[in-house]
Homo-oligomer: 189 residues x 2
DNA sequence: ACCGATTCTTGATCTAGATCAATAGAATTT
DNA sequence: AAATTCTATTGATCTAGATCAAGAATCGGT
C-alpha cells in the first residue's frame, strides 16, 4: 500500500527502514469509490492526501455555480486544499474521486511531527514544493498569456496521458474554458 | 544590508550568530537603478534574488508582444525565474527594477550548499515554498474563476499598499487585464 | 521650472470565447 | 439489453473585456 509513496520519496531522498516504518505509522489509508468526496467546500481540510492508485480532482464553485478544477491527482500526486490544511480555515475546494482510488492521508499534527522527527522529510517536502512552485508558475503564465488553443496544446504536450483518463468536459474546466471550445479546437472549426 | 533577510528568516526559524555569518558569506549584494534589468528572457537565471529595499517585477512576453507580469517583489520578497534557476534552462521571464533597489543574491551552487550545511535553511525554504504555494493556488483559482472586477478587488484587499507603489498599467498586466479595464472598474462606468 | 515621458481616462468598435439549444453518441446502472 | 445518465458535437447568438484612438494629467530627469 505504501509502494508508490516510498518510490516517490526515494526519488528525492534515501530513507532507512526505521524511517520508513515511522513514516508509515503517521499515515492512515483510505479507499474511496468513484464520485465519492474526501473534502467538501466549507469543511476544514484535515489531511494531506497522497494517491497510491486512482484519480481525483479538486475544484471550486464560482458565484454563478460554475465548477473550476484546480488539480487532477493520480498515482504519485498529492492533493488537498492547501490553504485550508495549513491554516485550518474552511476549504474553498472540494475533492472528489474520478476513479475508485486508494489513498494515504496524513493529519496536520502528524505532518508537523514528521517534519521535525525526520529531517529528510523536511528535505523531501522542500523539493516537492519547489517543483510544484515551478509548475504552478508555468500554469499561471499560461493562464494569463495563452489563447484557448495554446492552453489546450500545452496541456496535451505536458501530460499526454491525461486525454486517456479525464473526460473532455473536466479538461475544459481545468483550463478555464467551455467544453464546446475544447471540442472546436480538437475538430478545428 | 542583511536586516530584512534575517528578520524574514527569523519569523520562521531561529539562527545562531555562526549560522548567520555563514549565510551572509553565501550571498552577494547588488544595487540596481530603476529600469535596470537583473534577468533578460533567454538567459539562464543564475541567482535567487531577495529584495532588501526597492521594488522589482518579473514578466514574460506573449506571441503578440504583450507583457504579462508574474510577480511584484518589494522588501522581504524573493524573485527569480524559478524554473530557469532550478533546472538551469533559458528564462521565459525578465526581471526589471521598478524602483532603485538593494538586492541579495545567491547562486545555484551556494543555494544547494546552504540547504545541506544549515538544516534550518532547509526548513526555512520548505515553509517559504509552502506559503508561496498557498498564494499561488489562490491566484490560479482567482485567475480562472473571477470577473475582472473581482480580480481587482481581491488584489486591492490582499495587498492594499500595492496601489501606492505600482502604476495601474502594471497592475493591469499582473491581473491579465487591459489598463483601460482597471480605469473603468475604478471609476465604475 | 521646464520638457519630454509615462500614465490615466473616456468613448467607439471589435472579437475570442461563452452561452444557449438541440442532437447524437458513450458509458453505467438496473 | 433497455433505460438512464453522462459526454461530445455543431450551429447560432451574445457578451465581457480587448483594442483602437485621442486628449488630459502626472511624473521624473536635466
Amino acid at each position: 500500500m505504501f509502494q508508490v509513496l516510498f518510490s516517490h520519496i526515494e526519488e528525492k531522498v534515501q530513507l532507512s527502514d526505521a524511517e520508513k516504518a515511522k513514516i508509515t505509522s503517521y499515515f492512515r489509508t483510505k479507499k474511496i469509490k468513484r464520485r465519492g468526496y474526501i473534502l467538501m467546500e466549507g469543511d476544514v481540510c484535515n489531511f494531506l492526501t497522497f494517491v497510491e492508485r486512482g484519480l481525483l480532482k479538486s475544484a471550486n464553485m464560482d458565484e454563478k455555480g460554475n465548477e473550476h478544477i484546480s488539480l487532477f491527482a493520480w498515482e504519485g500526486w498529492w492533493i488537498s486544499d492547501f490553504n485550508s490544511f495549513i491554516h485550518q480555515v474552511p476549504a474553498v475546494l472540494s475533492i472528489e474521486a474520478i476513479e475508485d482510488s486508494e489513498l494515504l492521508q496524513i493529519s496536520r499534527d502528524n505532518y508537523e511531527k514528521l517534519l521535525i522527527e525526520i529531517p529528510l522529510m523536511e528535505r523531501y517536502f522542500r523539493i516537492l514544493y519547489q517543483n510544484s512552485l515551478v509548475t504552478k508558475d508555468q500554469r499561471l503564465i499560461s493562464s494569463n498569456s495563452d489563447s484557448a488553443e495554446s492552453k489546450y496544446l500545452r496541456l496535451v504536450e505536458s501530460m499526454p496521458n491525461i486525454l486517456q483518463r479525464v473526460p473532455q468536459n473536466l479538461i475544459a474546466s481545468y483550463l478555464g474554458l467551455a467544453p464546446e471550445t475544447i471540442s472546436r479546437i480538437k475538430n478545428k472549426r
